[in-house]
């Protein structure tokens, strides 16, 4: 039997800087670079959807500023076992209300589960595939019963979102998407796609220590970097999301402005084709040569203006993070030696595919720099830039055909925050298995890695999971499987100190939680 300790509320309280009483005042106007497509948590499809959804909706657990998972709508939860099958036992927090006044009960989570497992509704139905049934014990106690263990379920914050069953059923799916109701600190007011979304503080928010300090929150959508910055400088917005990398230094020195820089949940790496017969990257020495050829630190410093965090397989604080694992050092001479040993004294020429759409800031330039380093070491890149859709099509393995990607590929796959590599490794390290969802973007095939990754999926125990992930990370690192990890992007927020106070609670890197923004009088 596995027990997970309940993190005391006291610990959470200690993190809260000031206990606000009663209603907040004033309006916070924030400028975001990207916006959610959908507001309905059972229908959302992309990570960016959290930006708006995360202000209104909540899950059973969430990430605190120290990047730890803490209980949120769950008062406590644990993984237990019965007849050889695992289940997650959840006790719901009492006194939680939806924006329309309905109390949160187990039935609401059951409703969410039923929606989220339906492939006609949810884009993430495969995440519920291992669940056998949802069992309500009472209004504040339920169990998620599994057919077989599913480690990713825990890695993904217990998956489920609190959705008001009664309201949803009354207004219907379309209407709910237009006027969503959750348990979160912000109540939905209105939205204009590609322009803005408006919220007001939820006076009955259950977590009294984390009630919004402002009365209203307006998020403006301004994708063009320069325009967003100008809007901040002219005072049209008080809170700037995603300060352009090149301006972070300038913002840090700016009088009357404060900044917060945090790492985001994405993981970038350079992948190789090892599937095709003639690929030079089938030789581990060539892969190691590539890893030694690139000065990732220099790239982070100049191309990313320092706004990136080097990682080796798993980011700091993630499941399987191993502080002893050191990245391959930049050593062009060693890279050449390795190439020579592998039988390429003159190096070789290879197509190098670069993502040019800024899915993360400056990825295109990072790719250009990496490919220039490879070329200098003898892996002569024929660079081909590709916009996102073309890049994704190339990256994705044909349903039954061999991979078309025949060279080097700049890739990314989020391990989320605090970070769990299970899903990412299943997708880009595990061998491609048609129809099973394994290795859907993989150009790697290694039996030992496959066995361990499959085992990781079945491991729900946090300790065992971390140990196994560490083992895989070491193996993956030594053999340079599934590419060379490079960096995790960082994001910087800036706000005007004369108008706002922002403590970054909850952890804002991925979800952009805004509830701790305080408007000064």
């Amino acid at each position: 039997m596995i027990r997970r300790s309940v993190l005391g509320l006291a610990a959470v309280l200690a993190l809260a800087p000031m206990a606000a009483s009663g209603q907040g005042t004033g309006t916070v106007t924030a400028g975001f670079g990207a916006e959610s497509t959908m507001l309905d948590p059972v229908k959302y499809s992309a990570g960016v959807d959290h930006y708006f959804m995360g202000q209104m909706f909540e899950q059973l657990v969430r990430v605190n500023p120290e990047q730890r998972v803490v209980n949120w709508l769950a008062e406590s939860w644990s993984v237990q076992e019965e007849n050889g099958k695992p289940f997650i036992d959840v006790r719901l927090r009492k006194g939680v209300k939806f924006h329309n006044g309905d109390p949160l009960t187990s039935a609401d989570f059951e409703f969410a589960y039923n929606k989220m497992r339906d492939p006609k509704i949810s884009r993430w139905s495969h995440n519920q595939a291992e669940v056998e049934r949802f069992e309500i014990v009472d209004d504040h106690h339920f169990r998620i019963r599994f057919k077989q263990a599913d480690g990713n379920y825990i890695a993904n914050f217990l998956q489920l979102w609190a959705v008001p069953k009664a309201y949803y059923e009354r207004v219907g799916e379309a209407e709910f998407g237009k006027a969503p109701v959750g348990t979160g600190p912000w109540k939905f007011v209105s939205r204009t796609v590609k322009d803005e979304i408006r919220f007001e503080a939820f006076a009955d928010y259950w977590n009294k220590d984390h009630r919004p300090k402002a009365e209203k929150l307006v998020i403006k959508v301004i994708p063009e970097d320069l325009t967003r910055v100008a809007a901040f400088k002219t005072g049209a917005i008080d809170f700037l999301d995603a300060v352009p990398l090149s301006m972070v230094e300038e913002f840090r020195k700016m009088p009357g402005v404060k900044t917060l820089t945090v790492v985001t949940g994405n993981n970038l790496f350079l992948n190789f084709n090892t599937h095709q017969e003639k690929s030079p990257f089938r030789d581990v020495r060539v892969r190691q040569a590539a890893a030694h050829a690139i000065d990732v630190d220099a790239i982070i410093k100049s191309v990313l203006f320092g706004q990136g965090e080097r990682y080796v397989q798993v980011g700091k604080g993630g499941v399987g993070y191993d502080p002893e694992l050191k990245p391959y050092a930049y050593d062009p001479k060693k890279a050449r030696d390795l190439l020579r040993q592998a039988g390429f004294p003159q190096g070789f020429e290879i197509p190098c595919y670069n993502l040019t759409t800024p899915r993360e800031p400056n990825v295109k330039e990072v790719g250009e720099a990496m490919f220039a380093y490879l070329t200098q070491a003898g892996i002569r890149c024929r660079v081909q830039g590709m916009e996102y859709a073309a890049w994704l099509n190339l990256a994705r393995m044909g349903r039954n055909a061999p991979p078309e990607m025949d060279g080097v590929f700049s890739h990314m796959w989020s391990q989320n925050l605090p970070g769990d590599p299970g899903t990412a490794w299943a997708g880009h390290v595990h061998t491609f298995v048609p129809g099973k969802g394994w290795g859907s973007y993989s150009t790697t095939s290694d039996a030992e890695a496959d066995t361990m990754i499959a085992e990781l999926k079945l491991t729900m125990d946090p300790e065992k999971r971390a140990a196994l992930a560490r083992k895989i990370a070491r193996y993956k690192h030594e053999k340079v499987l599934g590419g060379v990890p490079t960096y995790r992007p960082m994001v910087t927020f800036a706000w005007r100190t004369d108008k706002l106070d922002f403590t970054g609670w909850p952890y804002p890197g991925y979800w952009r939680g805004m509830q701790e923004v305080v408007v000064k009088k």
């Binding site: 990398l245 330039e365 830039g385």
Partner: protein, 266 residues
Amino acid sequence: MVILALVVIAAAFGENVAPHDPNGLNLAAAFRPPVWEPKGEWAYLLGTDNLGRDILSRIIAGARVSLVSALYAIVFAGAIGGLIGMISGYFGGVVDAIIMRLVDIQMSIPALALALVIAAVFGADFDTVVIVIIVTYWTWYARIVRGEILSLKERDYVALAKVAGCGTATIFFRHLLPNIMNTLLVLATLQVGQVIIFEASLSFLGLGIQAPDVSWGLMLSDARNYITNAWWAITMPGIAIMITCLSANMIGDWLRDTFDPKRRQL
């Protein structure tokens, strides 16, 4: 004229003239300002970009891509559009009606939207850009040439040639073509600037020229990421576009006034 000549020379002999490899990466030399600034260096006359690449060398390399793509596109658009316009104007009737409807259809789609979709379909690269420009610009030639032919074919010498039993091809290339050459030339010159800007817009949006090729539009697209750090990186390629288009347009205006003083709206 002089400027255009310089640009053409730069495009032709770019590799020999350029002080640096346009794609030569040197992270240690990133963001060097132009030589006249306090921290400028003679090694990098117009400064360097975020990857330490020499901007002058990149402008020279970009001149080739920008001009060559423009020339290719204009020559083919002119040839295809011109021929279709001649056929349409000369034969008239159903052929004319069909061709003109096609032209109408094409012209009713915003050029940049069509270009974006095509580039997205075929994968953005040099060849696609050229094709996209041809697809966008042939209609202009077709329409204007058709108009010219309509009036030309009423002339006596065309009628005479027909009576004399000259083949259609002979009439086209011996009698009609020389008479529309001036128009084609003026139109082509006036389009050089437009096409360069069109290419720059496509590249700016990310569906034009892709690295490692260098184009002015691509340089601008890159430079906007660090616009406040290096004003020169966003200014210089823009100025290159500006003076090239300016000189092409001036030559075009001059040609128009010389060949065709009455038609002011070509």
